[in-house]
C-alpha cells in the first residue's frame, strides 16, 4: 500500500461522525414546526446511512438539513392531504411554520419569503457559516451573501415596523 494513501474509512465509523449531528437535525426540524422532529431526525440519519458516499463528513450539517427539509415538506404535504380544508387551500410547496421565543421576531419572520427566512435562520439559529448555508440552499456563496443581506434588511424593517425598539442592523458576516 502506498504510504500516502489512507485506508478507506469503515462505513460505520464514518457514519458515527454523521450521526453525532442527530440533535442539531432534530432541533432544525423542531424549529421549522415539525410535530415529530425526532422522527424527522431519525429518518434523515437513515437516509444518510443509505447515501453515505454523498454525505460530506467534515461538516455534514448542510446535507442533513437539506434532507430534513425535504422530509418536512413531505410531512406537510401528507398532513395537508389528510385535512379536507387544507386540501382546498393546498399549495404545491407548503411553507415551514416557524416559531421563535420572541413573538415580534416570529411575526417579522412570517413577513419574509421562505427563501429569505431560511437564509436568515440557517445562519442565526443553525449556526452555519455563510459558505455552509449556501451549500444547504444549493447556491453559490456569493449569491447567498446577497440573499442574506437583503433578507436581513427586510427582517430588520419588518421588526422595526412592528413598533418595537430596534437599532440599525450592522451584523457582520463572518467568513469561513
Amino acid at each position: 500500500m502506498n504510504p500516502d494513501q489512507h485506508p478507506p474509512e469503515d462505513p460505520e465509523a464514518r457514519f458515527r461522525r454523521v450521526f453525532a449531528h442527530l440533535q442539531p437535525v432534530a432541533d432544525y426540524a423542531a424549529r421549522r414546526g415539525s410535530p415529530d422532529p425526532e422522527a424527522i431526525a431519525a429518518e434523515t440519519m437513515a437516509i444518510a446511512w443509505r447515501r453515505l458516499d454523498r454525505v460530506p463528513v467534515d461538516d455534514p450539517r448542510p446535507w442533513l438539513f437539506v434532507t430534513a427539509r425535504n422530509l418536512l415538506m413531505a410531512e406537510r404535504r401528507q398532513s395537508s392531504r389528510r385535512s379536507q380544508a387544507d386540501r382546498a387551500l393546498a399549495r404545491p410547496e407548503p411553507e415551514a411554520a416557524v416559531e421563535s421565543a420572541d413573538p415580534a421576531v416570529t411575526r417579522a419572520l412570517r413577513t419574509l419569503s421562505e427563501r429569505d427566512r431560511e437564509a436568515l435562520l440557517l445562519v442565526a439559529w443553525e449556526d452555519l457559516s455563510p459558505a455552509r448555508a449556501a451549500e444547504a440552499l444549493g447556491i453559490s456563496p456569493v449569491a447567498f451573501r446577497v440573499r442574506l443581506l437583503r433578507a436581513r434588511r427586510r427582517f430588520a424593517r419588518s421588526l422595526a415596523a412592528d413598533g418595537l425598539p430596534n437599532t440599525p442592523d450592522v451584523l457582520e458576516v463572518k467568513s469561513t
Binding site: P11, E12, L22, Q23, W49, D102, V105, P168
Partner: protein, 230 residues
C-alpha cells in the same frame, strides 16, 4: 440589540432527543450501508437500464391491453356530459331508434342541473321509457282481451331485449360501457339476475298472465301517459 442579535436570542430552546441513540444507531447500521463501493456505479446503471426497459415493456403492454379492451370488451366510460343540450340531443336521437305504443308521445326529459352523466345514459333512459310503456300497454292489452295489441307489445319488447338491453359483466363499475361497436341506444343492466326476471315476466305475459309486466309497469311508469289500448 440589533435585529440579527435579537433573532439569535429568539432561537427556541432545543428539546433533547429522547430516543435511545445507541439503539437507533444500531438499527440504522443493521441495514445495508450505502457507502462507497457498496453498490458499484456500473451495477447501478445496469439496474436502472433494466428497470427502464421493464417499465417501457409494462407501459407498452398495458396500453395494448387498454386499447384492445376498449375495442373488444367492456370498459369504463370516462367521457362525461354535463351540458343539458347535449343530453337532450342524444335523447332525441335515441327516441328516433325506438318505438312507443300507438298514440303515445315521448315525454320531455333533460339532464338535471349540476349533474353529469356518461354519454350512453340519455339513450338508456329512452330505452327504459319505451320498455315501461310497452309493458303497460301489454298489461292493458291482456286485460282488454286484445290479442293484436298484445302481439304488438310482445314484439316490441322482444326487440328491446334483443337489441337494446345489454348486461354488464359481474362486478362492473357504475360507469361501465359495452364494447365499442355496440349500437346505441342501449340500456345497461347489472349482472344481478334482473334480465332473467324480465324475460320470465314476458314469458308469463305471452302465456296470458300479466302479473309480471303489470308489476313492472306500476313500479316504473311514473309520469308516463300511456294511452288506452285501441
Amino acid at each position: 440589540m440589533n435585529a440579527m442579535d435579537r433573532l439569535r436570542a429568539s432561537r427556541p430552546a432545543p428539546a433533547p432527543v429522547e430516543a435511545d441513540r445507541d439503539a437507533l444507531f444500531d438499527r440504522i447500521v443493521a441495514t445495508p450501508p450505502g457507502g462507497p463501493g457498496a453498490r458499484p456505479a456500473r451495477r447501478r446503471r445496469k439496474l436502472v437500464l433494466v428497470a427502464a426497459v421493464g417499465l417501457a415493456v409494462t407501459l407498452t403492454a398495458g396500453t395494448a391491453v387498454a386499447v384492445s379492451t376498449n375495442l373488444f370488451g367492456w370498459h369504463t366510460d370516462n367521457t362525461f356530459i354535463k351540458d343539458p343540450r347535449v343530453w337532450r340531443t342524444l335523447y332525441r336521437d335515441a327516441t328516433q331508434e325506438l318505438r312507443l305504443p300507438p298514440g303515445m308521445v315521448w315525454p320531455s326529459r333533460t339532464l338535471p342541473p349540476h349533474t353529469i352523466t356518461n354519454r350512453s345514459e340519455p339513450g338508456g333512459m329512452a330505452v327504459a321509457i319505451s320498455q315501461t310503456a310497452w309493458e303497460c300497454y301489454w298489461t292493458e292489452a291482456i286485460r282488454a282481451g286484445d290479442p293484436r295489441a298484445a302481439r304488438s307489445a310482445r314484439a316490441a319488447l322482444s326487440d328491446l331485449v334483443r337489441h337494446h338491453i345489454v348486461v354488464a359483466p359481474p362486478g362492473s363499475p357504475e360507469n361501465v360501457a359495452p364494447p365499442a361497436g355496440t349500437q346505441p341506444p342501449f340500456e345497461i343492466y347489472a349482472s344481478d339476475g334482473g334480465i332473467r326476471y324480465v324475460k320470465h315476466s314476458y314469458a308469463l305475459a305471452a302465456a296470458g298472465d300479466p302479473s309480471g309486466v303489470a308489476q313492472s309497469c306500476r313500479a316504473n311508469r311514473g309520469d308516463l301517459r300511456i294511452p288506452p289500448v285501441r
